[in-house]
């Protein structure tokens, strides 16, 4: 892919609650290149969730430009934004967020089905990805039959099954014990080593230290504390 995976130019995001306007992000400019492993670090309320929503095509900026995989997010309607999200972004959430009453394989196949792929092909691809993540024997288990670490690996499989330009991981170890959390981080590191672009959002500096590049966010502003690892 030519050009950066993500580019933000002078981004401002305001929220209106009643009569008051809250500025969650202001003057944010950043660029994430292909194959980078970037951590966005900040305390709660710093605006990192807002930043994640913008990078993840879940939200649009009030002013400024957000480009993901070369597309100007602000110009897309809801369906087009959803398509871009489905194609370009793979989400990993803190609480895993596997679909309830749905087997591991069907969780992983779901993004492919929403893109219009056939059930048989989608399930075959999902089984393949789960097998590479060591979950080949857990295909038909639903989330109640999987440990936290296993659930997060299923979630990672679901995030990468579409071969997205970017994996967006929001506190991916937050609900895991340190051993499982470390395994998840190792998995993300090895995926990055294979060329996958990863953005990790965390409040934990020690986890952020695993990334190659760190962006600190505080009070809605990205501080130029980019330090190469």
């Amino acid at each position: 892919m030519s050009g950066p995976v993500v580019r933000l130019l002078g981004v401002r995001r305001e929220y209106e609650v009643g009569d008051t306007t809250t500025v969650a992000l202001d003057g944010v400019t950043l660029s994430i290149e292909e194959s980078e492993f970037v951590a966005i670090v900040g305390p709660s309320g710093s605006g990192k969730s807002t930043l994640m929503n913008l990078i993840g095509c879940l939200d649009r900026p009030t002013t400024g430009t957000v480009e993901v995989a070369g597309e100007d997010v602000g110009r897309l309607d809801d369906d087009a934004l959803t398509r871009l999200r489905g194609d370009a972004i793979g989400f990993v959430f803190q609480q895993f967020q596997l679909l309830p009453q749905t087997s591991a394989i069907d969780n992983v196949a779901a993004p492919l089905l929403y893109r219009g792929e056939r059930v048989k092909a989608a399930r075959a691809r999902a089984a393949e990805v789960l097998a590479t993540l060591g979950l080949g024997d857990r295909l038909e288990h639903d989330r109640t039959m999987l440990s936290g670490g296993q659930q997060q690996r299923v979630a990672i499989a679901r995030a990468v099954v579409t071969e997205p330009a970017l994996v967006l991981a929001d506190e991916p170890t937050g609900a895991l014990d340190s051993k499982s959390g470390d395994a998840v981080l190792q998995l993300l590191e090895s995926m990055n080593a294979e060329g996958r672009t990863i953005v990790l959002i965390t409040h934990d500096a020690s986890i952020a230290a695993r990334a190659h590049r760190r962006l600190h966010i505080r009070d809605g502003r990205l501080t130029e504390a980019e330090v190469a690892a």
Partner: protein, 388 residues
């Protein structure tokens, strides 16, 4: 995601939460079952009534005078000339006190002529009908309907005993069989001449019965009889007449109208319960959308468009209502069969009603699924993901 995948997904969800699904469907199940059972019972009951009516000589046209002296012997003689008529019987009706043992009942008293038995073919449970040529001792004979005999506490063994009619002694020669549906009210039949004596009116004709050659001729006989009588009285076709002419077909068609109205009424009531069932589905689906807000957020995040979420919830509502409808059809047919078995009539389930019930449940699912599905589709992804 194609529709079939969405349907199988919805089905597996509903099976996973089967108690809740069943309770949600209950309204539609009861509604559809009631719809089917009630309409089937209505049509079973009316076809059983219609059946017994047509067994009573579907070829008899009855001319009845609407007041005393409205019809005469001369009218009856004129009606004998009606084309396609094989037999003509005349009757003279009134009321009389009939006494046996210590009991006295006021009954309908019908004087019938010799042709009456051949025209109406009354079925007897005991004894015989009135003699064809009443004379001498035979002139004072009487036949009672079952209910009249029961009212007077007359047993089968007492046929042949004397019975008093308006103070005159008659011999009881037979009792009619009510089971065929022929005159189930309390009636005493006596020879025409005896009736005229009792009423002290000669000649007196209250109705004339015309036996048409076959059922196809009935309508023609009715029209011809009307024309003959109007000509005799100098009436045009639009003038009010002092007689009315009925045939069994018109009674049967009246019953048919009653059946349609009854089915419509019962069907309407049952449809309301299907609608209430639909509201139940909407209610649960709205709760479900709220409970599954996060799931909806995740689905939207991983690439589900609004339309796909809308379809998912709409399909779930339709699957619920259709499943309820199908269960309702099975229950409804079972109920109808049970009632038919107990009442002893043929089970009447029209495929049209079944098809309508299915279509109706699809419609209910769509109508009441739209609101929850739109609510689900309109959720903001960011808010839905953060929803606790």
């Amino acid at each position: 995601m194609n529709l079939w995948t969405t349907v199988t997904l919805a089905l597996s969800r509903l099976v996973a939460a089967r108690t809740r699904s069943l309770l949600t469907m209950l309204g539609v199940i009861i509604g559809v079952a009631a719809l089917l059972a009630l309409t089937s019972i209505a049509s079973g009951a009316t076809s059983s009534i219609t059946g017994s009516f047509s067994s009573l000589g579907a070829t008899t046209v009855t001319v009845t005078g609407t007041g005393p002296g409205a019809l005469t012997e001369a009218d009856a003689d004129a009606l004998r000339g009606t084309p396609d008529v094989t037999l003509v019987a005349t009757t003279a009706s009134g009321r009389g006190d009939v006494a046996f043992g210590g009991d006295t009942e006021q009954l309908a008293l019908v004087g019938v002529d010799a042709a009456y038995e051949a025209v109406q073919k009354p079925a007897l449970s005991v004894g015989r009908f009135l003699p064809s040529f009443p004379g001498g001792a035979e002139a004072s004979t009487v036949v009672l309907s079952t209910s009249a005999a029961n009212a007077l506490h007359i047993t089968a063994a007492e046929v042949g005993q004397p019975v008093t009619v308006d103070g005159r002694v008659f011999t009881l020669v037979g009792v009619l069989d009510d089971a065929t549906g022929f005159n189930t009210s309390g009636t005493a039949y006596v020879p025409l001449t005896a009736a005229r004596d009792l009423f002290a009116r000669t000649p007196y004709v209250s109705s004339v019965l015309l036996a048409a050659t076959d059922t196809a001729a009935v309508a023609g006989v009715q029209a011809d009889a009307d024309a003959i009588l109007r000509a005799r009285y100098g009436l045009t076709a639009d003038d009010p007449a002092s007689f009315s002419i009925t045939n069994p077909a018109s009674v049967i068609s009246t019953i048919g109208t009653v059946q349609s109205l009854l089915s419509l009424l019962l069907g309407g009531i049952a449809s309301i319960s299907v609608l209430v069932g639909g509201i139940g589905i909407m209610n649960i689906m709205l709760v479900s959308v709220r409970e599954r807000t996060r799931e909806i957020g995740v689905r939207r995040a991983i690439g589900a468009r609004r339309g796909q979420i809308l379809t998912q919830f709409l399909v779930e509502a339709v699957v619920l209502s259709v499943a309820g409808g199908l269960i309702g059809i099975v229950v409804g047919i079972g109920l109808s069969a049970l009632v038919a078995l107990i009442a002893g009539w043929a089970l009447a389930i029209s495929p049209v009603t079944v098809l309508l019930a299915v279509l109706f449940s699809v419609l209910v699912g769509v109508v009441f699924g739209v609101v929850p599905a739109r609510t689900a589709a309109r959720l903001q992804v960011v808010d839905a993901l953060r929803f606790e």
